[in-house]
């Protein structure tokens, strides 16, 4: 009964979405206010209906209702409750439900935080989001219904893929989807502006916080995915350039470009058409990612179940949504003015160059991801594109982008002077180059790529320091701390996010340059030395988990005779799917991770063991986290808080205009 309620709620949600996607947009076109006002209640109603469906599916998992096909396929009576809940998004149908659920969360957020928008704009935004929702709900109800019954009911479920039985699974997909789907808001803003022909600085100002929030979620989501691969796959890699990883990275690149482009549109009125295109691009890539993961056109570790019928549906959906919005763009964008002019050496110029580089990097990732498909389609054979390609194209594109990232914030809008910039930055450059050359030598091993990586990281950090110092001397304030507090939060957000990137680059460089690994056969009591640490294998013991049997190894780690830690890597066999999983043991640290995983059992209680010493690896994820914090700080800026407050006190329209121009 409960699953049928969920199914019915989805059908009702589809009806509401159809209303939300048509009547408000029509109302905005003809200027009918009562039609436009349908948008808000429809968005909220749709949210409640999808929430109900989501809870129904959760309930079916909680009570182990194996008469629901999806529940039987992705869970098992022995699976612990938190993984049964996470199993909601453990496979295709449920992850679509999560997609729509998150879309409706964003809709509700828009309906609450859009009081300062003109009514027609809000009606169009919610209308566009409603149309996107129609597509996904139709997809679910036609070819991917999570509530489909299995008659007769299965005696027990087939269990969740053991790879997904991990705490990361509980939180990683919702984060990632918050980011993916969050770009639908920027997309809806862009389309609404194209519909209404009101593509101006105000549009950019309204879009900015939404884009930044979505970007923060996506940053964390991608970082968590990478961290998950690191400790779950058992061989210490953290990024594989797998199609599905790329599918999450491409919207991130587009979103990053969009944030910067919107900043220019907001402040200077330029790049309008470009910002709109990026907004469309970011969301299109989110949809493309869904297509790639869910249709099975590319083989990937993530493509668990595939079905050509579903692929066709998504393809048609992509054609309608992306093709439609690009047509609208081609039709409307030429009328948008160009905004203020600027010289090549100016902050606009540098942001433009950065944007072009980011989009070029995005294009090269897209090409690498789809290239196997292109070749196959042209009947030129089956190949796979791997890390060598991506590493080769990515570094040369990112190097100038990061170089510009250091200069951009110091350059003036409109027109800046190169000699002046060179003088202001000469110390930053000197210090960065010298340190980047010396540090690897001190660490005992110099290579050009390590120096380049460190140079880029140091360049970001030192230019931030120069910029901060200059701004502080210009700021009035009694004390140093007072001066720091005077700087706007939006500026701090940028500084923090850029600094996060510097941490990230440091982590990547140090790991690539200095990690060491060893594959050893270890008898009980035998020791191995790696990176200054001594590892002693103390044998394994058997134990039973809720739905698996495991051999747990015990490895004692010491350094210079002092005990450091004891690590417990595991080899698990999940009984239902009869699948073996390697659970690595990690001893994290600020400057290094120790990473141990069990290979195969050998005779006499010996095991093959993999030992890794990974310097600075946690900086990779730490850096991403700092970037996301930067985004959060940026949206807490005074002018956004003012925007909410203005709405609350309902000031007359005239004063509102006046204040807006002041802020």
């Amino acid at each position: 009964m409960i699953p049928e309620i969920g199914h019915y709620a989805l059908i009702l949600a589809l009806c509401v979405a159809v209303v939300q996607g048509t009547i408000p947009i029509y109302g905005a076109a003809v200027g009918n206010s009562s039609f436009m006002s349908v948008a808000k209640p429809a968005a909220r109603g749709q949210f409640l209906l999808v929430l109900l469906a989501f809870c129904c599916l959760g309930y079916a998992f909680a009570v182990k209702d194996f008469s629901v096909l999806y529940v039987a396929a992705t869970s098992n009576s022995q699976l612990p409750l938190h993984y049964r809940i996470a199993a909601i998004w453990g496979a295709h149908e449920g992850s679509l439900l999560l997609w729509v659920f998150i879309l409706t969360i964003w809709m509700v957020a828009v309906s609450f935080f859009s009081g300062h928008l003109p009514e027609a704009m809000r009606a169009r935004i919610l209308g566009v989001m409603g149309l996107v929702s129609v597509g996904f709900l139709l997809f679910m109800l036609t070819v991917s219904n999570p509530f489909e019954r299995l008659i007769p009911a299965a005696f027990d479920g087939r269990d969740l893929n053991p790879l997904l039985q991990d705490p990361g699974m509980v939180i990683h997909p919702p984060m990632l989807y918050m980011g993916y789907v969050g770009f639908s808001v920027a997309f809806a803003f862009a389309l609404a502006a194209l519909f209404g022909g009101t593509l101006d600085a105000a549009w950019a100002r309204w879009s900015r916080p939404w884009t930044t929030v979505a970007w923060c979620f996506l940053t964390i989501g991608v970082a968590m995915g990478s961290g998950w691969a690191y400790y779950e796959l058992g061989w210490g890699g953290w990024w594989f350039w797998d199609p599905v990883e790329n599918a999450s990275f491409m919207p991130w690149l587009a979103g990053t470009a969009l944030i910067h482009s919107l900043a220019v549109t907001d402040k200077r009125g330029s790049f309008k058409a470009w910002s709109v295109l990026l907004a469309i691009l970011a969301f299109s890539l989110s949809l493309l990612g869904t297509f790639l993961v869910r249709s099975g056109v590319l083989t990937s570790v993530h493509a668990f179940a595939t079905d050509p019928k579903r692929g066709l549906f998504i393809l048609v959906f992509l054609a309608v949504v992306i093709g439609g919005s690009l047509m609208l763009y081609a039709w409307r964008a030429p009328r948008v003015g160009l905004g203020g002019g600027f010289s090549i050496v100016s902050r606009e110029g540098m942001l433009l160059a950065n944007n072009v580089l980011l989009v070029a990097a995005l294009g090269s990732v897209l090409l690498g991801t789809l290239y196997p498909l292109f070749l196959d389609a042209l009947d030129l054979g089956k190949i796979s594109v791997g890390p060598p390609y991506f590493d080769t194209v990515f570094v040369p594109l990112m190097t100038p982008a990061i170089f510009l990232m250091g200069i951009g914030p110091l350059a003036q809008w409109k027109k800046a002077s190169l000699p002046d910039l060179a003088v202001r930055l000469r110390w930053a450059f000197g210090v960065s180059v010298a340190t980047a050359l010396v540090v690897p030598i001190l660490m005992g091993h110099w290579s050009p790529l390590v120096s380049l990586g460190l140079l880029l990281a140091l360049w970001i950090a030192t230019t931030i320091a120069v910029d901060l110092r200059e701004r502080l001397t210009r700021t009035d304030g009694s004390s140093f701390m007072g001066k720091l507090a005077m700087l706007p939060r939006a500026y701090w957000g940028m500084v923090i996010a850029h600094f996060g990137l510097a941490l990230f680059i440091t982590g990547v460089t140090m790991v690539k340059g200095f990690e060491v690994e060893q594959d050893v056969r270890m008898n009980v009591g035998e020791t191995a030395t790696l990176g200054g640490y001594t590892f002693r294998f103390d044998g394994t013991e058997q134990y039973r988990g809720p739905n698996y049997i495991a051999a747990r190894g015990s490895i004692h780690v010491s350094q210079d005779g002092r005990d450091v830690t004891v690590m417990y890597p595991e080899k698990r066999r999940y009984t239902v799917q009869n699948q073996t999983m390697t659970e690595a043991a990690i001893s994290p640290g600020f400057l290094r991770d120790l990473y141990v995983s069990l290979g195969e059992p050998l005779e006499g209680g010996a095991w093959s063991v993999r030992l890794y010493h990974k310097p600075f690896i946690d900086w990779i994820w730490g850096g991403c986290l700092v970037m996301a914090v930067g985004g959060v700080v940026a949206i807490s800026d005074r002018r956004y808080r003012l925007a909410w407050r203005r709405k609350e006190v309902e000031v007359p329209a005239g004063t509102q205009m006046a204040r807006q121009t002041v802020s």
Binding site: A73, S295, L326, M327, Y329, P334, L370, L373, K382
Partner: protein, 175 residues
């Protein structure tokens, strides 16, 4: 206007490729085993567990080896195709019940129909490893000399059967 059409143009090209991509099968991987002798097996039969089905008994004829299981959704999908093929009598399909429970496998065949003259039970998945099984269902075409000639990963579809497998089988049978 024209330069604003560029994104649309690029998208149409990508879309066309994605469309073609959908009709292709990325799982149709060239298997290293094609052209090699099929790994030998000798396993208990499903219906009579005291008897053994051995690959050497099948020498001298062209046959299909179909890995399946009662827990596998794709097997249900290809099942009508197998039944149809079995009725035509053109080529025998031997089943390999892969990592399954005997009672459930028997119940499954009873309910949906049995296309196999004989089924072997690979309870541990050992033979599956020999054959390099990615996942069930998988189907192998094996010739009179016991050499693997073709491997289908995933459900067998009617069109693949008509355009690839049956022509191959006829050719091998005439040799």
């Amino acid at each position: 206007m024209s330069r604003f059409l560029i994104p649309l143009g690029i998208f149409v090209v990508v879309l066309a490729f994605l469309g073609v991509g959908l009709t292709l099968n990325p799982r149709e991987l060239p298997s290293p085993l094609v052209g090699k002798p099929a790994p030998n097996f000798s396993l208990p039969q499903l219906h009579e567990k005291d008897k053994v089905l051995s690959s050497t008994d099948l020498r001298g004829q062209v046959w299909l080896l179909n890995f399946w299981a009662s827990w596998c959704g794709g097997c249900k999908e290809e099942h009508p195709v197998l039944i149809h093929l079995a009725k035509s009598g053109e080529v025998p399909i031997y089943g390999m019940d892969y990592k399954d429970r005997r009672e459930e496998a028997l119940a499954w065949l009873k309910e949906w129909g049995n296309p196999y003259p004989l089924v072997a039970v690979d309870e541990s998945g050992r033979v599956g490893i020999d054959y390099g099984v990615y996942g069930v269902p998988e189907t192998y075409v094996i010739d009179k000399a016991g050499v693997i000639r073709y491997k289908q990963i995933g459900p067998l579809r009617e069109d693949v059967l008509q355009t690839k497998i049956l022509p191959l089988v006829r050719e091998l049978q005439s040799q």
